[in-house]
Symmetry: C2
Subunit: 565 residues, 2 copies
Amino acid sequence: MKLSRFYMPTLREAPQDAEIASHKFLLRGAFIRKSASGVYTYLPLGYRVVRKIEQIVREEMDRAGAQEILMSAIQPKEIWEASGRWDRFGPEMFKLTDRHDREFCLGPTAEEYFTTLIKDEVKSYKQLPLNLYQIQTKYRDEKRPRFGINRAREFTMKDGYSFDLDREGMEVSYHTMYEAYEKIFNRIGLDYVIVQGDNGAMGGNMSHEFIALSDTGEGVIAFGGDYAATEEKAEVTYTVQDKARVDLTEVTTPGVTTIEELAAFLSVTAKDCLKAVDLMVAGEPVVVFIPGDRTLNMAKLEGYLGVPEHDILPMTTEQIEAMGSVEGFTGPMGIDARIIVDRSVTAMKNVIVGANKKDTHLQGASYGRDFEGEDGGDLLVVEEGDTVPNSDIAYAFRRGIEVGNIFQLGTKYSDALEATVLDENGKAQVIWMGSYGVGITRTVSAVVEQCHDEDGIIWPVSVTPYHVIITVVKNKDEAQMALGESLYNQLLDAGYDVLLDDRAERPGVKFKDRDLIGIPLRITVGKGAAEHRVEYSTRKAMDTVELHADELMARIKTDLEHYDE
Amino acid sequence: MKLSRFYMPTLREAPQDAEIASHKFLLRGAFIRKSASGVYTYLPLGYRVVRKIEQIVREEMDRAGAQEILMSAIQPKEIWEASGRWDRFGPEMFKLTDRHDREFCLGPTAEEYFTTLIKDEVKSYKQLPLNLYQIQTKYRDEKRPRFGINRAREFTMKDGYSFDLDREGMEVSYHTMYEAYEKIFNRIGLDYVIVQGDNGAMGGNMSHEFIALSDTGEGVIAFGGDYAATEEKAEVTYTVQDKARVDLTEVTTPGVTTIEELAAFLSVTAKDCLKAVDLMVAGEPVVVFIPGDRTLNMAKLEGYLGVPEHDILPMTTEQIEAMGSVEGFTGPMGIDARIIVDRSVTAMKNVIVGANKKDTHLQGASYGRDFEGEDGGDLLVVEEGDTVPNSDIAYAFRRGIEVGNIFQLGTKYSDALEATVLDENGKAQVIWMGSYGVGITRTVSAVVEQCHDEDGIIWPVSVTPYHVIITVVKNKDEAQMALGESLYNQLLDAGYDVLLDDRAERPGVKFKDRDLIGIPLRITVGKGAAEHRVEYSTRKAMDTVELHADELMARIKTDLEHYDE
């Protein structure tokens, strides 16, 4: 492609709201344009990168035995109601109504849709295992779309679903996808980790996330030894301390409503106090108790309760009073609410708890003797200083961008939608499913986050929009233009994707654009053109050498082969 | 792909609502599945055909200098309001609201969106001409979706837009696209005609439709000599008859409210009467007069009025009375309404017209003497017996499916959205545009309409999902399976798309499926397998020959090269 005709409106400056490198450089380099909040257009350069990533994903999915289909982006309400997710997704789901008042959503994912597709047509165990996928536009009406295509409301996703006769089959399919995902992200060249994921609204059991490491990532990963998990999921362990129980006594604590104030007032540490979190869960009062020095992990709580985020709200003052307490003094004894405790609370002795009356706490409270509560398992946010399960290795933390996820769904959706097959004995069996996602467009931004410098993007060869860019320094110079065109045609004939910068721009503009758009190999055709001498450099090393034009083809072949190493 | 693992749930019977061959065979052959009214899923076989057509379109667009981008499927309301099409599209447009109450539509087309995209970034005539396209999912909430993917509510379209400095530039871009479209439909192998189109809601000037001929098409084309046009657009000409004018006289016509009754009552022909069509156009009374023996062409009227279909309604009895007439007796004299006449009416003398009072008509009325009315140009539906413009060749009629259309938009959208560039003299000039569409998924159905027999589809090689199918007659027979697998691998290695039917099905089922899905070349591995002898046939000719396996590769190469001839 000749730049004089190419639609590549690069920008000197990125818009103010572009905070991270990928957002800035993808805008400045004319890869993307914003069409509305969280909604983007892919310009010619950007769409080439998207299609290269799609092709890698497609090849690895096909190689792993998955089959590509395309379902519609609009999905009927009924199937989402059957699984209970129509309401569960809440305002994150774009909804619409057709001219006959039938309701649809713009699919944020497609577990229900794929299950519905196969349920009447896969009737026998002989048709299993089956693995279907699509590469398609998805929609989530994010509360705060940001970081460009990293967290957009419209995005391209590969979503796939496996169907098996039993748990063992599902686990085999899951493992095959796990390996295919490793191949995909290895081929793209991302620096990534695989962590145990949080299931969130997906439900089900085992899951993994593929996370591209990046300081600008919105997710935090907790590491230690062989263990890695998202911050939401990372397990917090506790040790039981051997203490003699003391008696329960009431203490007056005037105006002391926070744990910090309480610890200071009584000259103890926050750890010696019990923190109450007063919540309304789907309209019912629930109080969660955790150690005073810790933070409640909402993702873990959602998982335990099995309700979505938007159904969990803080109690109002009135709601606290209605359950028989006073704001700032909630304790686990004598309230009219469901009580859930973090597992570590079940080992607590002699703690200070709210007395459910104004300006009053109780000292010396012990779980099992003075108060009870459902054991909610681990409900804490992991912290600096916590140790990895079954070891004394302290957690380390890094940020990252989730680019892939795989879930063992079990029979959640096939139960809800009644998808069964007949087994060898002619008995109906509910199908076991897995679901597998790759954020195609998010991967574009993750690559840029990992591959850039202050001047622009440094594309890996695997996904670069073009392999080589030839810059003709003076497009009015006949010898330069002739050599530029000749090299351009040679490289095209050899099968490379090539840009020829033949624009009537100042050399400085051309060089700046070249650095910005990040094409791996660069040929500069300048003064030496008459002698067929050119300058040659790579975007990665920025190391210019002078070469004879005849040496280029061999050099380019070798450099492209080794560039991503 | 081995059929034992391939997701190809063929059906013995098509659902009742599948009326035409493409709808039936695409469902039965497991190419598509219905997800909702007018909304389809593409199964593995079907999606391969879609992708092959996309690739042909992409290659020809790129070759013609167009550049591929991807815009979002959701489009903000504001840009549609700027062009006046938000209301104009009416109930055909799917609309939705985001969590912040901002309104969007699911794009039915993208003139406004592309214009908005380039308007702030294309600033100089030097950046023109520019031609951008996308291959994308589009939405129209059709009143009566039918015929499967032929008239669906969600469909894949290639839509492209050209941007030029002036009319001449637009015409050059238009001509380039005209030729690219010929290449596209020639490569696909469709039997098609190119006709002057109706602009409908698009506005603008010159346009052409590419129409695949098919008896099941919803559109009718009127032919004659070199002339071809859609039924909506085909010009109706008239001859002026030399008559002496007679005097105007009132005649009592009790209970005579239709042209047929009137002609019979007065012993004249329908041609001697003036037909009134009483309409409310965007709330205002309009009466259109045409010769009594003809039918008003609503598409032509819409074009003349410049309003959409849903803004044109028949008058109620009350509305007819409000303009000063009586239902069944409307005439062109003395009514309180806008009067529009078909051009042929301007030459009419001595006709019978309604008198705007009950049971009364007027005889001997002449245009220009007794009544006036805006000359609306040709407003008639073409009929058997009409002749092609400037000739005495009678029209012939054929049905067809619109698979492509190209429009010279002029400055309609660039005016509305203020898209200008500076010309050589630094003066702002409104950009001249063209728009170019290919119905990708509709083309799939058009190909099937043209290429099938009673047993199933007969894919052209250009878009076939697979080139060759190998049927192993008995999958338990070791020699047969070994030869089948060996041929399968040989053909894959040679770069062909191959299916191996290794299913444990009866031979009859396999043969029926093979005919149904329409793969061009067929190898049957049966009893002769031990001697490496196979049966070979083509889907088109169904002519079985016995060959030695060693002869196959050469035969397949030759046959594929000539199959589409």
